[in-house]
């Protein structure tokens, strides 16, 4: 194998912060905008430039408030209509036929129903973060003021509350289904040689550097210059049906008790763990197969390949599909892509027995190649066909977040193998999530943001 040296890593001062680091700010909101034209768009970006957080280490001086900016392809064209050399899936967008081959949003998740059935032309998403509620609302007001001054229209994606996608801070890093989230993200290292790149390295995420088999692009021409040191964000809002989830656990807990004994409450938690591959506290089933363990709640150093029968973790458990680790995969599915996840919950939790109300996950899935990384993983979520552990049918689905599509394209059953050679088979998992909307954005470099801010 050749050892081709890598160029130096990107200057963190030129990369938007969320690309290279996960934020721990407890307050955030995500504002969707439509530009009026180039002049207004430039004025809007220019007004926000001073608040854009780069990936530079902030040391002990953690910003109280900050923001990052994403542009859709339609938004980029507002600034320069000649930038046509972006990847096809970014240009066509997530509602396109090509992307829907992977995302498979149908029924209540269908693109026609996204954003409450409205048809906004989203040009820009501004991600605002604060250490306090006041810090967040203060910066959000500045963003709104900049929009008003420049004729930029805000689109409100929710029909409840403020209409904005605002993080529900009290949940911290938990999601509405009760799981601890955000445990495992790529380390975003920098390889010494191009050939030594592994999927968790930063050159798979930041555009403009060699060595990645996912080939983040564009890398040439004017579009390449525009995208250099940028990163894509698959922005996906998923409603979480907590009522359906809890009802499911209650419905099947007796079947679990009949198979393995214990109490109904223990059976509910066991079933919840088998769906996801981690107990609700975060402990992975591979390391803690019998009960959650505080010592393993943040564990990331484990693999699945030794669990050849799925006795610890079912093959279709969410974390085993979305991040298969060392699971053997077919050649066209190798290497396993990684995503940087920067998601957070929105909406207040339900007050049982009333499960009404809007709540779910604001998903920010960062990658250098929307098709080769995000869409490939999503296609596996909807149809488990990437590894021989799913043979011979190769058509089961991610137990938690798959779109429950027609039987001809995916089998919604869920099998939990047991040590006695028997198995618990759930004939048909219900849909636990509904896609509320998706947008593909580029998180441009700070240099690009400065450049377009002057494009009056």
């Amino acid at each position: 194998m050749a050892n081709t040296p890598m160029p130096p890593p990107p200057d963190p001062g030129n990369v938007q912060g969320m690309v290279l680091r996960g934020y721990t700010h407890p307050y955030s909101c995500h504002l969707l905008f439509t530009f009026p034209g180039r002049s207004g768009a430039a004025g809007f970006i220019g007004a926000l430039l001073g608040y854009v957080q780069s990936a530079q280490d902030w040391g002990n001086d953690k910003p109280v408030r900050m923001l990052n900016i994403g542009l859709t392809y339609a938004g980029i064209l507002i600034f320069d209509p000649t930038l046509v050399q972006f990847p096809s899936e970014f240009k066509a967008g997530p509602a396109s036929t090509g992307s829907q081959q992977s995302l498979m949003d149908s029924g209540p998740s269908a693109p026609a129903l996204w954003w409450n059935g409205d048809k906004p032309t989203i040009h820009c998403i501004v991600h605002v973060y604060g250490m306090t509620a006041d810090a967040l609302s203060g910066l959000a007001a500045i963003v709104s003021g900049a929009a008003e001054t420049n004729g930029v229209s805000e689109f409100l994606p929710l029909k409840s509350g403020s209409g904005r996608l605002t993080q529900y801070a009290p949940l911290g890093h938990d999601i509405h289904f009760g799981y601890h989230d955000g445990i495992d993200n790529p380390d975003l290292g920098w390889p010494q040689y191009q050939e030594a790149t592994v999927p968790s390295d930063a050159n798979n995420f930041v555009i403009g550097y060699p060595g990645s088999v996912f080939s983040p692009g564009p890398v040439s021409g004017a579009a390449g210059a525009f995208a250099k040191d940028g990163c894509y964000n698959a922005f996906r809002v998923l409603y979480q049906d907590v009522g359906a989830f809890e009802t499911f656990l209650t419905q099947y807990a007796p079947m679990v008790v009949a198979s393995i004994g214990g109490s109904l409450q223990q059976a509910r938690e066991w079933l919840a763990a088998k769906l996801v591959g981690r107990w609700r506290n975060g402990s992975p089933l591979i390391l803690s197969p019998n009960a959650p363990d505080p010592a393993t709640r943040d564990a990331t150093d484990f693999g699945y390949s030794a669990d050849t029968l799925g006795l610890k973790c079912p093959f279709s458990a969410h974390t085993r599909v979305a991040n298969p680790r060392d699971e053997p995969t077919f050649p066209a599915d190798t290497p396993v892509p990684r995503l940087s996840r920067r998601g957070m919950p929105y909406g207040a939790p339900p007050v049982p027995p009333d499960y009404g109300g809007e709540r779910g996950l604001i998903g920010l899935f960062l990658c250098g190649a929307l098709a080769g990384q995000f869409e490939l993983l999503y296609s596996w979520i909807n149809v488990n066909n990437f590894s021989n552990v799913f043979l011979p049918k190769l058509d089961t689905q991610d137990a938690l977040i798959a779109n429950r599509i027609s039987l001809s394209r995916g089998d919604p059953s869920f099998t939990i193998p047991l040590p006695n050679g028997q198995a618990i088979k759930i004939p048909s998992l219900p849909p636990f999530v509904v896609t509320r909307g998706t947008a593909y954005c580029l998180l441009p470099s700070l240099a690009t943001l400065r450049q377009i801010a002057t494009a009056a």
Partner: protein, 143 residues
């Protein structure tokens, strides 16, 4: 669930280009055999030479395939396979209207394929719904 790709590329009319098109046709199966075997997602693939209306010379090359699953996520496999990449970049290089800039990376390759694909997933008739992997699991290839 299979999908169609019908890559239609009108080509230049000079003798060198015409010869390259004929060679691509003559060597197609041998040049893609190993790569497509390993992909496990392509049911059938063939290259067709479209004659000029007058019957003399080649008007265009047509690459016709039927494959499993979404197209764009798997284009990186074809781009990263040296033999398959050569076939596609070869087609792009003899195009009457070659991509500008020339196909030299995965983004350019994706755009070349999508810009010249005449079909969408809804266009395909399926006699069966099984994938290549499902069929091979039931009927392992003979040695």
């Amino acid at each position: 669930m299979a999908n169609p790709l019908t890559l239609y590329v009108p080509i230049k009319q000079d003798p060198d280009t015409q010869l390259k098109a004929q060679l691509a046709y003559d060597n197609f199966v041998s040049s893609v055999q190993a790569g497509l075997d390993t992909s496990n997602i392509v049911h059938y693939a063939r290259l067709a030479l479209i004659p000029n209306p007058g019957g003399e010379g080649i008007l265009a090359i047509c690459l016709i395939t039927t494959f499993d699953g979404p197209m764009n996520p798997y284009l990186k496999y074809f781009w990263n396979n040296g033999a398959l990449q050569s076939v596609f970049t070869g087609l792009a290089s003899i195009a009457l209207n070659p991509p500008n800039p020339p196909v030299s990376d995965l983004t350019g390759f994706e755009n070349f394929i999508n810009d010249n694909n005449l079909n969408t997933p809804d266009d395909l008739y399926n006699a069966y719904g099984q994938t290549v992997l499902q069929i091979r699991a039931q009927f392992p290839p003979q040695a």
